[in-house]
Symmetry: C2
Subunit: 496 residues, 2 copies
């Protein structure tokens, strides 16, 4: 017989939530006190000593472990976490994850996730409307921007060359029956490596990704794109996919979508926009009115946006939007049954994905949208842009700081610090940056990044994203901290 021991999950959960609430609220409070470090950094060896990572045969307590996890993790609520393109989340973000956890839903078929299915359909439609894609737009949520970009690439290939789904990829001239030559993908030199990863996963080979040169502020050069498209065609290849980036990873540049779309149309290519970083700036009324970043967005075939970056929705929350019948496009292109056989429930979102089971990540951006409104989310973007502008001015006012781009294209402020002690001497600025970067982060007061770019020395890349960042308390202090750290370096002992 089966054991029928009563398990009172509800009371156990109640007790545990009470314990957790105190811990996590305190953690968030500490994160927002600038006097606290962003992280108490431990290298793996130290961390193995500080915490117990062994996995027991019999159950042991977990609350001490949760306390240590909080203690030794990076506190991304701290406004001085400026290392990555995401920042901490916010209360509605935490609440929506708690809701997902309690429901433990799976958004592959409607009947097990009715509410989350409709939330996903409606929130992707609403984003499609912000992108001017109209009433037939919509899309799907994917586990991250790279996954969205991969799904875009697979969908494009399956729509343009449907026989590859069953027959496999065997191009002309090797396979005279194929309607395509070697497939080539076009993307800018500054685009994210997920495009390369997707192409290698799909068996195109990274050699068949054409990297288009960028202009002085990091935007794809459209005349170069056309020259390279023609070159590829001349070689007997079949260009089929152009990726434009809306907010590049290092500089934050926006490729000119409208101009690129004209070439996509002319050469029968799918136009994808990787807006993993900058795409959600479309929530700002001010951005849509004053900037040309989204000019032509309605002409994209697919568009990736990550609410988990700029909008503070918890990781992961990435959307792939299309004007071509929303999520049905993906179902038709990617279902293993042929188009003419596709009669599934149009509310079963799993048909369009590469996977099967899937978390209802759409609910997180849906709830954030309800809570803040589109304008509230847009205000977060505006606030970040204002902080970035003000910070740029601060950097310019200081001797020894040199901006990489002035003005910065978006929210990353990139600069070098040139130590006054080294004036008149020969030195490698990349080494200087990395040395200062290491020392600044080591204190735990800030967590910032440094970045490389072909043809330039490594520089500091500061991402102004958290809505709690304060110009004087945090941003001015960062410049002071770099100066203070520099003052402690005996550069004659550093090989640079």
């Amino acid at each position: 017989m089966v054991a029928t021991k009563d398990i009172d999950n509800a009371s156990e959960l109640d007790t545990m939530l009470t314990l957790m609430q105190e811990m996590v609220v305190q953690y968030v409070r500490e994160g927002q006190n600038e006097a606290n470090p962003v992280v108490t950094f431990q290298d793996p060896k130290q961390l193995y000593k500080a915490m117990d990572f062994s996995l027991p045969t019999q159950g042991t307590g977990t609350f001490e472990l949760i306390k240590s996890t909080l203690k030794y993790s990076v506190n991304s609520w701290n406004p001085r976490f400026m290392d990555k393109l995401y920042a901490g989340t916010n209360p509605i973000g935490v609440i929506s994850e708690l809701l997902l956890a309690v429901l433990n839903s799976n958004v592959h078929v409607y009947h097990v996730s009715p509410v989350f299915t409709l939330m996903e359909i409606e929130v992707t439609k609403a984003v499609g409307r912000l992108l001017n894609m109209g009433e037939n737009s919509g899309g799907l949520l994917c586990p991250g921007g790279s996954a969205s970009n991969l799904l875009a690439l697979v969908t494009a290939r399956n729509k343009l060359f449907p026989m590859i789904k069953s027959e496999g990829y065997f191009p002309r001239p090797m396979n005279p029956a194929a309607s395509y030559g070697k497939l080539t993908v076009f993307t800018s030199q500054h685009s994210h490596y997920s495009i390369d990863k997707a192409a290698q996963v799909m068996g195109f080979g990274t050699d068949n990704i054409v990297k288009v040169p960028v202009d002085d502020i990091g935007r794809m050069q459209v005349d170069e794109l056309e020259r390279l498209l023609l070159l590829s065609i001349e070689k007997g290849e079949t260009p089929f996919f152009i990726n434009a980036t809306a907010g590049t990873t290092v500089l934050g540049a926006f490729d000119p979508i409208r101009k690129i779309s004209a070439l996509a149309k002319k050469y029968n290519c799918w136009l994808h926009v990787d807006g993993s970083w900058g795409g959600t700036a479309v929530f700002s009324d001010k951005v849509r009115a004053e900037k040309d970043w989204f000019d032509g967005s309605e002409l994209a075939d697919t568009f990736t946006l990550n609410p988990h970056k700029l909008l503070g929705v918890p990781l992961q929350c990435s959307m792939l939007i299309t004007p071509h019948q929303g999520h049905l496009l993906f179902a038709k292109a990617n279902s293993l049954r042929a188009d003419y056989l596709f009669h599934g429930n149009p509310y079963d979102l799993g048909a369009g994905t590469i996977g099967c089971g899937r978390r209802p990540d759409a609910a997180k951006v849906f709830l954030a949208w309800k809570f803040y409104g589109q304008q509230g989310l847009g205000a977060r973007v505006d606030r970040a842009l204002a902080s970035a502008d003000a910070f740029t001015r601060l950097v310019k006012q200081r001797k020894s700081f040199v901006l990489v781009k002035d003005p910065s294209p978006f929210l990353q402020i990139c600069f070098w610090f040139v130590p006054p002690q080294l004036a008149g001497k020969e030195f490698d600025l990349s080494t200087v940056t990395r040395e200062l970067h290491r020392r600044v982060n080591q204190s735990g007061e800030f967590m910032v990044d440094h970045a490389p770019l072909v043809g330039k020395s490594d520089f500091f890349r500061i991402v102004v994203n958290a809505p709690t960042v304060n110009l004087h308390r945090d941003l001015e202090r960062l410049l002071d901290a770099i100066e203070e750290v520099n003052a402690t370096v005996d550069w004659s002992t550093v090989q640079c």
Copy 2:
């Protein structure tokens, strides 16, 4: 200047958590009361009327919306949710998601996620040891079983044919320089469609997936596998990947890993085991001692397990384990730099994934392991197996119920109900199953699934997974409910 409005996220979170706690604890309590429905089912039209899915310009309240989300969603805590291979989670599951939400971490590089990185390394190593893969084993977490299977397939291709990464997939005889012919993938007729999806994503084409016949209880026939491997080689193709399934989706069969591994070795193929469903049964000491399901698991090159199914860890939590240096295998195979250039930080887990940013899902199984111990998690498996056995006996005792397999290979009990009213008449049993299934689910008292299998009429597939399921209260009642529902059908009006 930047607005420096103080945002007190900590107090806001405190207030919201207090509100949420009451709601979610009540929800869990209701879910475990068998008198409550699993779901109050609404079709999309009804649900659009019952809830407000519009997305506002200005922020509005969200708590009413959260209440409605709970009200109209499937309550997977209810032991009568037997529709899918997953069930509700448990308190430590909810707590670990809350922890992830508050930390909002990203496990791509060590320095932003030190604790979660070590948890992932240790928990995948520990699972590798359970699979007898030894001290050099370990792996990565992926966003679902399909994603793990895809990563396994990409890794196999990149290890066996490294030039495809850069040059693309151009096989012999079309490309005489290639070291490979058309690549073929072998998997059983009963394996999960994610293998097909992965192969089509990668451009192999679903026609190049060889489906190996199964024996009477759904296991891959090893002699057929060898015959088909030889046939493929004869045609000039290159078999390179064999997928064995540990727990098939419909029947729950385990392919014989040891025998398959001998063929994999003989024909230079990568051996992958898709244990998305049954893989975590390895946590049970009893299973490892008494069943042959994991015999030869140490010989697999990669092995997928989903703690989010059988172990009750929240969706999603899927692991890909390998004996070949753990996560470093994936980093070496999938990094865009060549092997000889790979000098990255071995603790930066992102290098081995297809994506970039990633949720620290490993923490959820790590915390569950600490809380319950390996034996506690194993006990959950044992309890489910005991329930399934007992349920099988109940089904056999009743007239009109016919088991599809006796005994069932695993935790899915598959059966037909043959209405006594139809005795001596001609009818389509698939239609009967679907009609009864629809009516049983409509009441909301249960949520169960029906399944098709080539050559058989559709049947009920009951998944016994929740640890709270009670033999008499839930399982016996289900059989009663099917009989009661059948008594209400006038079969002469149903076209069957």
